[in-house]
Symmetry: D2
Subunit: 289 residues, 4 copies
C-alpha cells in the first residue's frame, strides 16, 4: 500500500479571476476524497485580474488514476474557467541536468543538497564545456559529459546537448555556464532553464558584474536566479539575495563573497522549481514559498 508521501500531489492554476474558482477546484478534490494540506492563492486584482493558485493535497487510497484525474479536472473545472493548469504527483520524481564550465561552487551546492535528500529530484547528468569538473561529478555517481564549444560556435554543441537531454531531464540548470544559449535552444525549454546571474539584477547587466560593482562602490552585492528567455538577463526573476560589502573588499573578494551567494540563491531557486512553487506570468514569477 502506498505511503501517504506517495499519494501527495499538487495542482497549479492560472486563469482570469472571478468568483467560484477556489470553490470549484477544492470541491472537485473533495469529491475525489483528496485532503488539501496546503493552499496558497493570489489575485492581481479582484476585478478582471489574474488568479493564481497552488494546492497541495493527499489522494485517498486507492487513488484515482492520474490520467483520469487530469481528464476529469479538465472537463469539470478547467474548461469552465479557461484555466492553464498542471497537476503533479510527487512520487514521479523530477530529473534535472546541470550545465557547467570550470567553476564548481554552484554545481556542488546542488549535488550536495541532493545527496542530503534536500531536493525532490534526481540529477540526470552534468554537461561541461570544459572537462574540469568530471571527477567531482562522478564522485557523486552522476554522469558527466564533456561537450566542448569549438570554432563552429554553439550550434553543434547545442545539437549534442539536445541529444543528451532528450527524455532525461525536465529542468536545465546553468550553474555558472559561461556561454549564451541560442534563442532557438532556449525556446524549446520555456520556464525550464534556470540561470544564476552574479549580480542583483537589473543592476550590472552583462559581463564582469563584480568589477562593475567594485567600480561603482556599492555597499551590497547580489545574485539573481531567473528563468532563461531569449533576451539575456531579462527572464523572470525567481530569487535574489545580497550580502554587505565595504571599501575593504577587492574585486577578488567580491567574487569570493559572491560565490557563497550565487550557490545559495541558485539552490533555493531550483528547490522552489522542483517543488512546483513557481507560476510564471509574463515576465514575472508568482512564488508560493
Amino acid at each position: 500500500m502506498p505511503s501517504p508521501l506517495d499519494r501527495r500531489a499538487c495542482l497549479l492554476i492560472t486563469c482570469r479571476d472571478g468568483p467560484g474558482i477556489v470553490a470549484a477546484a477544492t470541491s472537485f478534490l473533495f469529491a475525489r476524497g483528496a485532503n488539501v494540506t496546503d493552499l496558497q492563492q493570489h489575485s492581481t486584482d479582484p476585478d478582471g485580474g489574474t488568479f493564481f493558485m497552488r494546492l497541495e493535497f493527499v489522494l485517498p487510497e486507492p487513488s484515482p488514476e492520474p490520467a483520469e484525474l487530469s481528464a476529469r479536472f479538465q472537463a469539470e473545472v478547467a474548461e469552465r474557467f479557461g484555466m492553464q493548469w498542471r497537476l503533479r504527483h510527487f512520487r514521479d520524481r523530477r530529473r534535472f541536468a546541470v550545465l557547467v564550465s570550470t567553476e564548481d561552487h554552484a554545481l556542488l551546492e546542488l549535488l550536495w543538497g541532493w545527496k542530503r535528500g534536500e531536493l525532490a529530484a534526481e540529477p540526470a547528468l552534468v554537461v561541461g564545456n570544459h572537462p574540469d569538473l568530471r571527477s567531482a561529478v562522478e564522485w557523486f555517481g552522476v554522469p558527466f559529459e564533456h561537450v566542448p564549444i569549438g570554432p563552429e560556435g554553439m550550434a553543434p554543441a547545442e545539437a549534442r546537448l539536445l541529444e543528451l537531454l532528450e527524455g532525461r531531464a525536465d529542468l536545465l540548470v546553468l550553474a555558472r555556464y559561461m556561454r549564451v544559449l541560442s534563442e532557438g535552444f532556449v525556446r524549446r525549454f520555456p520556464s525550464r532553464i534556470i540561470n544564476i546571474h552574479h549580480s542583483f539584477l537589473p543592476a550590472f547587466l552583462g559581463a564582469e558584474p563584480y568589477r562593475q560593482a567594485h567600480e561603482r562602490g556599492v555597499k551590497l552585492v547580489g545574485a539573481t536566479a531567473h528563468y532563461v528567455v531569449a533576451d539575456l538577463d531579462a527572464g523572470p526573476i525567481i530569487e535574489q539575495d545580497v550580502t554587505r560589502v565595504s571599501h575593504r573588499q577587492s574585486v577578488a573578494d567580491l567574487k569570493a563573497l559572491g560565490r557563497a551567494l550565487e550557490r545559495q540563491v541558485l539552490a533555493r531557486a531550483v528547490k522552489l522549481h522542483l517543488e512546483e512553487r513557481i507560476l510564471v506570468h509574463g515576465n514575472k514569477t508568482v512564488v508560493f514559498g
Copy 2:
C-alpha cells in the same frame, strides 16, 4: 454605493483537519456572491492535525447583513467542522490603545505609521504611567491619559486603565511600558495585548537584555513582539528581527540600535494583528503574511 474597499472582509478559521473544509468554506462564500481575493491555508499534519485558514474576499453589492452572514456561516459550515472562527468587515475600523512610560520611539513609529495611512486602525488613546509623552501624543490629535502607579502598586492603575479602555479599544499595545500587568488584567485581553521585548527571545529573558547581550558578547541583538500572557516573556511570538553588532558597541550603542529594531518589529506585529493575519494556537502563532 459602497466602494469595493467597504465590501472587503476576511474570515479566519481554526479547526481539526479533515477533507472538505476549504471546499465548504469557499462554496459558502461563492453562494453569497463573494469573490475570494487572497487565501492562505496551513495544516500541521494531514492526519489529525490542526487546520488554519485565512480568506480575504469582496462581498457583492448589495452585501448580506454582517449578522446574518455570520449566523449562516455558523449554521451551515462552522458547526459541521467544529470551527473556531471570526469574520471581520474591513470597513469596521479597529481601535487600539498604547501604554507607554518615558521612551517614545516605539509609540511614535505607530503614530506616524497611522498618520501616513499605513495602519488599518485608529489610535483611541495613549496612556502613560509618566506624563512625559503628552505633548508628542497630543500633537497627533490623539488623547493622552496619565495613569501613574503609586505606592499601592498596579491594582488601582489597572482599574483606571480598564475604565479608560472600556468600549474604546480592541487592542492594547505595550510600547516600552516598563511595568508588569497583573495576571488578572492580562486574562481579560486574550491575544489582544502586544508587547515588544528588547531581545531575541528566548535569549536574555528578564531585565536589562542589552547589558546581558553585551556581557555575553553576542554578534547580533534582537527584538521580539509577542502576545502577553500571564507568564512574562513567554507569550506567543508574532515577529522578531535582529541587527548585527560588534565589539565596538557599548551597552548604550546597543540600546540605540535596539530602539530602531524594537519600533520596526512592534510596528510590523501591530500591523499583522490589525490586518487579521494572526491565528494563535497554544503558545505559537500562525502568521499569514
Copy 3:
C-alpha cells in the same frame, strides 16, 4: 575643566600610500599628549595605492589650541606626505539643513533621532518647496522655511536657499526633496549634500523606481544614500539596504515598505557623515563604520 567628551577629536587623512604614515601621525598626537581611542586605516594597494585613515583621540587637559594644533600638523606631518586631511573637535557641534517636499518619513526619522540624542549635530532649519510639513517641523522647535519653486524654475529658489543656508549649515540633507538641484548649486557643496534614492542603485535609475521594480518582478527592493554630484544618481554611495518583497506587493505596498527603508538608510548615512566616518575618493566612499 572640560569633560573628556569635550576633548574628543578626530583626524581624517587621505594621501599616497607609503611607509611611515601611521607612525608619523600617531607620534605627532602622542607628543601632544593625545590618547588614540579608535583608529581605522585602509590602503587600496601597498605599492602606490591610496592611504586612508581615521583617528579618534582624546586631547589632554589643558588642550592645545585647535588652530595651532592644525598648523603644526600641517607643518610637521601633512606636508611631508602630501596629505589631504581634516581635523574636527567634537565639541564643535555640526549643523545641518534638510530639504523636503511633501513626504515626511525621511525628515521625521532625522528629527526624532536628533531629539533622542542619536545625532552629533543640530538641525539648523528645514526648507520645503511645499508648506505641508511646517507644523511637524515646528513642533520640534526647528525653523521651517517655505521656498516654493515657481515658473522661473530652480534659479530663484536656489538663490534663496543659499541665503538661508549661509553660515548656518555644514551639511544639506535631501529627505525626499523631489527637485533636481542645478550643477552650479551642487558644486558649492562638495561631499556635503546627501540624498536618499528610493532604489538599490544603480538599478532603477530615474523616476518611479518602485514602479520599475514592480514591473521587473524583483524579489528585493532597496534604497541608496549618496552624496550629490552634478550627474544625478551617480554620486558616491554612502549606504544601501534592501528588503524582501514578493508577488503579493502592489506598487503602493512597495512604496510603503520602501519608506521604512529610505528613512533608515538616510539616517544611517547622515549619522556616518556627522561622526566624520566617510572619506570620499573619486566616485566612491571609504566608510569607517
Copy 4:
C-alpha cells in the same frame, strides 16, 4: 626573491590602554622598513580600559629574521606596555584538523572552501568518531582517521586524538562533532577549538535546539560559532547568523535550513581565525573583520 605575499605579516596586541601605544608599535615597524597596509584598533575605555590592535604589514626585502624581529619587538615595545602579543608571517601556512561525526555539511563547506583557495591554511586531517565520511574526505586528498568512542568513554579517544594532532594542527574545528570533549582536553587548546552550535546562543542551550525552537515558535533560527571552553556552550562567540522561518516549517525543515546556516557561520569563523582577525578577551571576542 620572495613575492610581496611572502613578506606579509600581522601583529596582534592586547594591553592596558594608555597614550603612545599605536605610535610605539608603528614606529617600530617603520624603523624596520615595514609598510602598514591595514590597521584596526579598539579601546574598551580611554581611561584604564583595554587596548586591542591588529596591524597587517609588508616587510621589506630582505626581511628581518622572524625570531629577531620578535625578540626586538618584545624588548623595545611590548615590555614597556605590558603587551600580550603575537606576530604571524603569512608564508607560514596554518594547518587545521576537523572533528566530525556523521553529518557532512559543515565539513564539506570547509574542504570546498579550501580547495577553492578561500582559506589561508591546509587541512591536516579529519577525524571521525564514525567512519561514514571517509570517502568524502579522501576524495579531497585529505587524510581521514576513524577514532571511535567505545564503552570506556572519551578518555582513550582523546588520547588517540592528541597523538594524531601532535605537531600537525594549530586549530581544531568541531564540524558537528556530536560528543563533548573533556575539560582537560579543552584546556590544552585555549582559543584553538572552534565549535558550531545549531542555535542563536544563548537561546536554546543544550540538546535538540531546533526542536526547542519549533516548540517556542520563534520566527528566526540561528547558528553560533564559538571557541570551546570547559563550560559547554559558554565559550567566546566568534560569529552568529539567523534565517527567517515561519509556522510552515517542521522540525525537519528547520534542521535543513539550519544546515545551510551552520556551515556558513562556521566557515566564516574559521576564516576569521586563520586570518588572525580574532582577539579573545575574557569571555568575548574582538573581531577585526
